[in-house]
Assembly symmetry: C2
Homo-oligomer: 622 residues x 2
């Protein structure tokens, strides 16, 4: 059980407190009382097994975070294992992993005494004690493997200095104090060993469906790869289903990580290859190697995907993902992203994904549908934008034609953009009124693209609209970013996983090219500039020649918010459903979903600003 002693009853050797801390000493009596209270309450502190989610924070695995989520309490309980504690550490959250304007829990030691407090960093990275202490220390204990810190944080605190924990990606940040510090303010945040880790903190509270007795497993794992000594490697490995393998349902999958490589294996995906080709070559090597056979580019149908911090993925009880059998390829491609920033050498790895499948087919095949924007240069983002928004539509006309009367059920979603993506959200709209968020990530990172199970299954009926909005940052670019497949081009996609499977594989839109032409025309005349509009010049070239100013930028925004769209309402193999899909009216939204007002339950034991003294002994014993 956790144990903790307070130093409250001992005379306190006074370190060099700054004014703010001195002022806060006033509250120390209360704080001490609360610490005693906390100790008394420790019977109710969650045990280690109560933290189902785990992620290493740093590439060496010195800091290991476990956590659980209490939706009734609207709070997260953290357990942070510090393997080689020196003079303290910082742990916190910020918009995109930066150390400025961050919300931090700090454990620091002056060499004699240790303190824990809720802090924040200003726009220059200077640390300040928070007036309202919302990281609540619940306990600390030493174990052979290191120090365990247990603390709690409400999703929302209504303290403007605090980070609001929302669904989607959370950028966790950490820092390690290697020297004693005499006060919080004395910590120079830019001089410490630090880093970031992305996780989905608010995991959905899914009831695990019952698993069939005839369930089998299959491991798609890399065969003893030596992880290249470079920061980023995408490793490709081709696997093969047995000849004549009949149709099965994948009903669950989970990661298989080689012990010790937890901090190196960043994400993994298993793709099924295209059925058009009878065979695919074997391959085991980097995905960007010149030696990689071109045909591997036809292995793009996602069967399973995992990213750091994710757990096992379960299909809903009624559905499974079909694989095997006639009409589907026997060939699978495993892709492993190794993230090796310390450039470690000679590490062997056999990580991969374990598929759980059954021959007793479930009631429904699951399907994957692509929502958002068509991959076309007509959708472009001007340079120098901090938050430019593009929207892709799946219209009522398409869902009316393609979805069964009983509707479909979306149970998982994978958001996708290229490097400029910062936020992605898909909203379900019915009769022009936004009804429900399908999936939203306000801190989306292109470097962290998980398949996420939804908190609630979303039912979509014929006539519904699915509107996907992506926000991009192009502040570091000097030319327009157009839509397309290239890594410096952009996408706006939500791959939704649903059942029962339908013929609709793709429901996406783009602006009508005729209206875009009028835009080039208009920009040309308005600015007295020579924007080449000759038909032989490509759309990207036309975008690249625009002299970007606020007017041309704003009018492009207005165009995208006004012009009719070209719909891609497609069956498999890129065949459109019959109907007129050009120059379709832009869906009109008459009622928006309200932003949720953060609830701010007074945190039990939320305290005025004062560091809590801890007696952990002398931290470093050398």
């Amino acid at each position: 059980l956790p144990s903790m002693q307070t130093s409250g009853s001992k005379p306190c050797p006074c370190p060099s407190f700054k004014l703010r801390e001195v002022a806060s000493m006033y509250f120390t009596m209360i704080a001490v009382f609360l610490v005693i209270l906390v100790v008394a309450l420790q019977g109710s502190v969650p045990r280690r097994s109560d933290f189902p989610y785990k992620v290493p924070l740093d590439p060496q695995g010195l800091l290991e975070l476990s956590w659980n989520v209490s939706y009734p309490e609207q709070a997260v309980h953290f357990q942070l294992l510090v393997r080689d504690l020196q003079f303290g550490l910082l742990f916190g959250m910020s918009d995109r992993g930066e150390f400025e304007n961050a919300d931090l829990a700090v454990l620091w030691s002056d060499g004699h005494n240790s303190y824990f407090g809720d802090a924040w960093s200003d726009a220059k990275g200077q640390l300040h004690m928070d007036l309202q202490q919302d990281y609540q220390l619940l306990g600390a204990r030493r174990a052979p493997e290191g120090l365990y810190l247990l603390f709690r944080r409400a999703f929302s605190t209504c303290d403007p200095k605090d980070y609001l924990i929302e669904d989607g990606t959370v950028h966790l940040i950490y820092g390690i104090l290697e020297k004693p510090v005499h006060s919080l303010q004395a910590i120079n945040i830019s001089a410490i060993h630090r880093g970031l880790q992305r996780v989905q903190l608010l995991k959905p509270n899914i009831t695990v469906p019952e698993l069939p007795s005839d369930m089998k497993t299959m491991e798609i794992t890399a065969p003893d790869v030596v992880i290249p000594s470079q920061e980023t490697t995408y490793w490709c490995y081709m696997a093969e289903l047995p000849d004549g393998f009949p149709k099965h349902h994948i009903i669950m999958y989970e990661p298989v990580i080689t012990a010790g490589n937890e901090a190196l294996v960043h994400h993994m995906e298993v793709f099924q290859c295209a059925a058009e080709f009878d065979t695919f070559p074997h391959y085991n090597g980097p995905c960007d190697s010149k030696m990689k056979p071109d045909r591997l580019n036809y292995c793009r149908h996602v069967l399973a995907a995992w990213a750091m911090g994710a757990q096992a993925f379960y299909y809903p009880e009624e559905a499974g993902l079909a694989f095997g059998g006639p009409g589907s390829s026997r060939y699978l491609r495993l892709e492993v992203h190794y993230h090796n920033p310390l450039v470690l050498k000679g590490r062997h790895d056999s990580s991969g994904i374990r598929l759980y499948y059954t021959a007793t087919l479930r009631r429904y095949d699951a399907g994957i549908m692509e929502l958002g924007l068509v991959y076309t240069p007509v959708m472009a983002i001007p340079p120098g934008e901090d938050a430019f928004i593009l929207t892709g539509y799946c219209t009522d006309k398409c869902t009316r034609l393609a979805l069964p009367a009983a509707g479909i059920h979306i149970f998982a979603s994978q958001l996708h953009t290229h490097l400029a993506g910062r936020k992605v959200v898909t909203v379900l709209s019915r009769d022009g009124r936004e009804r429900q968020v399908v999936n939203a990530d306000g801190h989306y990172s292109p470097h962290f693209q998980e398949i996420r199970m939804l908190k609630e299954v979303v039912a979509v009926f014929p006539g519904d609209e699915l509107i996907t909005t992506c926000t991009y940052n192009t502040e570091d670019r000097s030319q327009a970013t157009v839509g397309g497949f290239g890594i410096l081009e952009e996408m706006c996609v939500n791959y939704v996983h649903y059942y029962p499977q339908t013929q609709l594989e793709l429901c996406k839109s783009a602006v009508d090219p005729g209206y875009l032409h009028r835009y080039f025309n208009l920009v040309n005349r308005f600015n007295d500039e020579e924007v080449c509009m000759c038909p032989q010049v490509s759309v990207p070239q036309q975008f690249f020649s625009i002299p970007w100013n606020t007017f041309n930028r704003d009018v492009l925004k207005s165009l995208y918010g006004f012009a009719p769209i070209s719909m891609h309402c497609n069956k498999s193999s890129a065949i459109r459903f019959p109907g007129e899909w050009e120059k379709q009216p832009l869906p009109v939204t008459t009622e928006r979903l309200r932003e949720p007002v953060p609830r701010c339950p007074p945190a039990p034991g939320a305290r005025p600003a004062t560091p809590v003294p801890l007696n952990l002994g002398q931290l470093r014993r050398d």
Copy 2:
């Protein structure tokens, strides 16, 4: 002294409480305790003389509100006199005086017991008890003239159901309960006698300057007017300074209201006539009468202005407003706006303004400068807009030329728009960075245009920019609203009162007409519509012929945010300062002022949602 008894110790006859109230009975014990506490605290309740501001709420004067403002506490104390209490009343605030989405304090009686509570109304006007009680009842007492209710409200409560009390106009609403009601929810807000009153609640905390011993007074008052029996009358009366009246400084003025007419006299202004004319005819009659001599239109230079709820106006110690002497007209025009919604007949009135002036001239003459937009149709608002923004600039180039090196000091401001105006704000910007709000009204009403003393005098130096932004609502209009003098045309003006007086009378802007022409051109081509652009057609006609859609609207916004401006940097008598003022670059703002984060001090005694029982006896005694 206030006295109040609680009904807590008596058996409580139970009225038909709805579920919510039943649930809240749980807290009654606490509430009763608090009421007792309040009674015990009543020694510290402000005395009547502690409420310096007073305004009648209804046209009959049945409800009279007095208040004070505590900036250290960030709270307003209200004293509401109810002259003929029946079964209760509603008092509250809402965005623009509507009874939906309003924040209310309610006193209601079921015929036996009376209750007081903080409530809110939803979008349909249904009342609900507020979960957080932020109108804090401090006391209640009966007096011969009626019942006094004393209560307190923090500026900001951080309760999303509460109104945020800000600088500028506050729309107060009231309702009178003429029948017993058995619960808060039973009040039908649309069936009661109700109304609104606009006030500046957060009066600035001005130190009254020392007044000279040779100070004289002059009353400019209407000579026994019979108030016309119609809702709205603007009454005009010509007054005259004595022949040979030398230059004096007005250093203060205050309203003179005929007793009993406090609810009828809405606002009053004293204008000085133009010096070009030697004489002006006498006149005493409605301002819109056909009998009114045309020459009175040349009496437009504001000397003094008062509106309901305003107190005396003091010039700063260093300055006075010059009047009299050579070069200024002897003629003054008094304009009184009578607001008589009950169409009372035969009411006599001699209200007006008392000027306090001195022959001992102060160090500086005060001046008035006009900021905002030029009165020109090139600045237009599309129809159907809920919040369209237009911005007028006083550029660095103009202030560099016209202001003294030591700067000027703005101490008061009068915001002005026509009927579509909803918000007005002027911000001081230096080197592209917004520094200070000069004056802001987020609930501006064209029906309530006071000269307001600023909380802080604003120093403006050569090279500073003054940016005035107006927000308009044209949801009820089907055609564009263009700039101009007409009541259905619009203005965006801030008359700032400052010292020392300079030659700069007008510092305003409008979009460059050439760029507007390009806009008409662009709209024409983009929409394939026939917008007549023939040069013989006026700008308003061109605006009226635009087919308004989101694109044409958005592009107009973009135009106003991009196109160069034409500056009016004018001396008196409409003469521009020398220099090039056409096609000036739009000022660029690189750093905006942050929205202030509302402070939410925990209100002492803020209570969970429960009505406070009061024993006021049977309210109606008939």
